[in-house]
């Protein structure tokens, strides 16, 4: 076997991905080729450097809790929910998959194991991560409140989902969001903005409308509301 051929096989050889016949051929070549031995030494040195520098990370406890909370009580719905999600599903097929999960979570009040919030009105945390279809999302919220006046709603926004909560934000037709926001606030809806997103996007906290409050991490807040305060999760 020639050096050029062996060179092509060195990486799979080192990674233990070569079949026996080729392993034997490479090893026969290595017996007598200092250049290819040096190439192997180079790759191995780098692998050692990587494993020394890059230990696999462990998931933080808050993430573990948040992921587990997503699936707590998401058993199959016993009956269809009355909430109209058609607007969102039609408008944003990309997030339809996530909405289904939210829909499953929404079915929780009908499950025997769920008792959170039913006496004082259902508690819903809406998770808003995208900047599209905000108008439709706000309309969904309003419809939801119309259907269940006792509903307690917290909207947690992060990523592009925060944009409509910034001062002077307007919809695609140039209409300011602030009117709809104030109306929803007056009906008890709370808006919480992820400070991590603001930091990442280098947005000053003063740019957030006073109708919304800041929380350190949107995801952690969603997890906390579900776990500690019995909120049901719904994705917008």
């Amino acid at each position: 076997m020639k050096c050029t051929e062996v060179n092509r096989l060195l990486n799979p050889y080192i990674d233990g991905e070569l079949d026996l016949q080729n392993v034997l051929a490479v090893e026969a070549h290595l017996q007598e080729c200092p250049r290819c031995n040096a190439a192997i030494a180079g790759i191995q040195t780098m692998r050692t450097a990587i494993s020394r520098a890059c230990e696999p990370a462990k998931a933080p406890l808050r993430l573990r809790e948040a992921v587990q909370a997503q699936f707590a009580g998401t058993a199959a719905p016993r009956q269809a929910t009355s909430l109209s999600l058609g607007v969102c599903l039609a408008a944003a097929p990309g997030i339809a998959a996530l909405l289904i999960v939210g829909w499953l979570a929404l079915a929780q009040p009908w499950n025997a194991q769920s008792n959170a919030g039913t006496a004082q009105g259902t508690r819903i945390v809406y998770h808003l991560a995208g900047g599209n279809h905000v108008k439709a999302n706000l309309r969904t919220l309003k419809n939801h409140l119309d259907a269940e006046p006792n509903l307690q709603v917290v909207v947690v926004a992060h990523s592009d989902g925060i944009n409509f909560l910034l001062q002077g934000a307007k919809d695609t037709e140039g209409q300011p969001y602030i009117g709809a926001l104030r109306e929803l606030r007056a009906r008890g809806v709370e808006f919480r903005v992820c400070t991590n997103t603001l930091t990442r996007q280098q947005i000053d906290t003063r740019a957030v409308v006073p109708e919304a409050v800041l929380v350190p991490s949107g995801i952690a807040e969603i997890s906390r509301l579900q776990k500690r305060e019995g909120y049901t999760y719904l994705r917008l």
């Binding site: 060195l10 180079g42 790759i43 890059c54 998401t74 199959a76 997103t197 990442r200």
Partner: protein, 186 residues
């Protein structure tokens, strides 16, 4: 339709890979907060599409979803850099043009790389173009086989092999390039 049994199976197959999911997400999203968001999104999607998982080979299946979630989130956050689409052919041409660097005799490189500090290794790994960066992270940090990498990245095994080989050469070149000037004080 998911039921309790399905959820129990999901938790049994998916939750043990949470550390691997987060570890990969940190490398691909290049931001701890974004990595957490990506992992959460990935688990939601995994739950939604759990029915499409064949067999019990959950890890690569989940990591593929994590990978895609990371790139989508970076795009959503308008973050530049290696998460952008990578033109492999153009880059290959550039690599050939840079052949003088990457085909240097390997022996001196090995000695140079052995002296590289961990920070520098991490920086150089993070600076690789996306297609090379991800195969190297999956192989060296997540310990995936070629077959698993092929499943996660969505390419044939032959492509994984050639990308990995190029990725290693490229990383060797990058590290050597940055170690030498420091040592010579230039």
């Amino acid at each position: 339709m998911h039921d309790d049994w399905e959820r129990e199976r999901f938790e049994r197959l998916m939750l043990p890979h949470l550390d691997a999911a987060y570890s990969l997400a940190r490398w691909l999203a290049k931001n701890d907060g974004l990595a957490e968001d990506a992992v959460q999104e990935a688990y939601l999607r995994a739950w939604r599409f759990f029915g499409s998982l064949r067999g019990d080979d959950a890890r690569p299946w989940l990591l593929r979803i994590v990978r895609n979630a990371c790139y989508e989130l970076r795009q959503r956050e308008h973050l530049p850099g290696p998460a952008e689409d990578f033109d492999e052919q153009r880059h290959d041409a550039e690599m050939l043009a840079a052949g003088a660097v990457i085909t240097l005799p390997v022996n001196p490189e090995a000695a140079v790389i052995a002296r590289a500090e961990s920070d520098l290794v991490r920086q150089c790994l993070g600076a690789l173009p996306r297609d090379y960066h991800e195969v190297l992270v999956l192989r060296e940090i997540e310990g995936c086989s070629y077959k698993e990498i092929a499943d996660i990245v969505g390419t044939p095994i032959g492509t994984v092999m050639s990308r990995l080989s190029r990725a290693r050469r490229l990383l060797q070149g990058l590290i050597a390039e940055r170690v030498r000037p420091r040592e010579t004080g230039t």
